[in-house]
Symmetry: none
Subunit: 174 residues, 4 copies
DNA sequence: CATGAATGAGAGTTCATTCAT
DNA sequence: GATGAATGAACTCTCATTCAT
């Protein structure tokens, strides 16, 4: 989170973990392996994002807003995030399809989002002709916001406006 | 383009430029400066993307489709692109607002896109209540596709579908 | 045999022995001690080379040929041999005269060989004016062949020719 | 010469050469390359061993004795010699036949020695039925003495006796 | 007796930057 | 102006040895 993937050194890691250089290598054979494990753990933690905090009587709109709010919180954190490190890692480690955690996460989010939109359409909260593309569109905008936050920067307001626009596109009234 | 920003070495650069190591330092004081200049030049070249190839009698839809097609070509190239290097560079160099080329480029694209949408709305090609947010939405989706292309990968078909979805959102019939 | 003395690691040894790292140190205080014991055991095994397989009615020529054949087999094995490891070990551990197993082995082989040549001379199989030097000469040639096998390489034919030359030097007809 | 090939470190080398760590890598890409160059240079220097110091009217016996004396001097030096390092190097670097300096050196010495013995046979100084094998025998004894000097140790006297034995084998009177 | 997780010094190698020429 | 040999700090990774359990 502090230094990203390329700038972090073994020294940083062993000092932060209060472990010896050699000790670390008992568990991981390379910096890549360390990061993959970090990514895997992070991925497990954040899998529950949807299921957590969702009350029984929530509407699709409620859940979508909760999700977008959660995503905003994450992307606004900027530094205390694995986003940058993850991108750097993927830049130089083109992984086999099997263990591509990032892709799995993305596709899984698209899936849940599509289901949510379909539910909203059924309950007449949303209007949407192509839930799959709408879901993917939302995820891509979030991805775009994430990378923007790490590069050109984003303001809290501009993110809010953009997320509201997404809701409006689904026919949600203010 | 070949190695990104972090993996490229001075050796690579001096060999490619056929210049001496010391000679390079007469013009640039650091690797960062070199990259900033590369970025500036690239930015100048691509500024014309909109103005080029646009015939007098093009409709807003034509121009938008041309733009999206151009963007797709760029992001599908994947390796022969400064995308990765640029992201890497921005990850570790938080620049002063003044010379933030990337932001300028983004905002300038948003501006042109908004104007284009407004034109399309006037000519009744598009239906759009908030051209500013619509323009920004398109740019963010493109940004999301760009980073996805560099990390989890994208197929030509999925990009097409997603760009078509954008057009449909503006009320453009197939 | 697999890795020689310098390249073998404690990990290799504990895995091959199915013992714990700490357990190994209960019996040996260093890698040197381990190797010395290996050498001692090997030395005991190979002491019988002369006595074994020797029939009652063997001539001196028979026994010498058997010995040379045995030595050839050993040196041609090349990899499944402690030769390399032993040399490496002696290169960095100049041992006290008392426990110099290698020297003992060499001198013992010279002694037996001298006795054999003397027997051969008495039975008029061999012609030799200086059995001590002749024995030592044979051992040195074998040593030369051993190190050659490990470095520049030797062919089976060239070893044969060279060993035949030794026999001829003792007056043995083909 | 001091530490052999495996025990010598980059630190030793850069300190001895009074050069920087990086500077060394300008000329050699690995420790192996450094040693191969050392070996090549040494090989060039010692190529002249035969031709040097040989007077016009020398007999074959004179030249052979000079050669053996030279070889003895070399092997008795023990520490100030590349012998050990060379063996260690060859133990873990099985080189392609093309650049096998050690083999070339050996074969070249065998060739010259054979020519010398043939000359001696013609001038009736030597008696020898198979000059090729005799030459090879001498080289193998020398190789045996070399490795013995580095491991079990040899005394000046024992080397003398053994070299005299070689001369006697060629029919040279004391 | 036996374990094996942990240690930490030290290995080879890389590379942005400098500066005498 | 231009060169490129030289620098040295910093990197990742290894491994014989120890010691609390």
């Amino acid at each position: 989170m502090e230094k990203g993937f390329k700038r972090v050194t073994m020294k940083d890691i062993v000092e932060a973990c209060d472990i010896s250089r050699g000790g670390l290598y008992l568990y991981f054979n390379s910096t890549e392996e360390i990061f993959m494990e970090v990514l895997r753990m992070e991925s497990e933690e954040t899998d529950d994002v949807f299921s957590g905090n969702v009350k029984e009587d929530s509407t699709a709109t409620d859940i979508l807003m909760l999700f977008l709010k959660e995503q905003k919180k994450e992307l606004m954190r900027k530094k205390d995030t694995l986003t940058q490190a993850t991108y750097e890692f993927y830049f130089e480690n083109k992984l086999s399809k099997k263990d591509d955690i990032l892709k799995k996460q993305f596709e899984s989010a698209v899936f849940v989002l599509r289901k949510l939109i379909e539910t909203g359409v059924e309950s007449e909260e949303f209007y949407c002709e192509d839930p799959e593309r709408a879901a993917r569109n939302i995820m891509l905008v979030l991805e775009g916001l994430k990378i923007s936050a790490q590069t050109i920067g984003v303001t809290s307001e501009s993110v809010d406006k953009q997320l509201l626009y997404i809701l409006k596109s689904l026919g949600v009234e203010d």
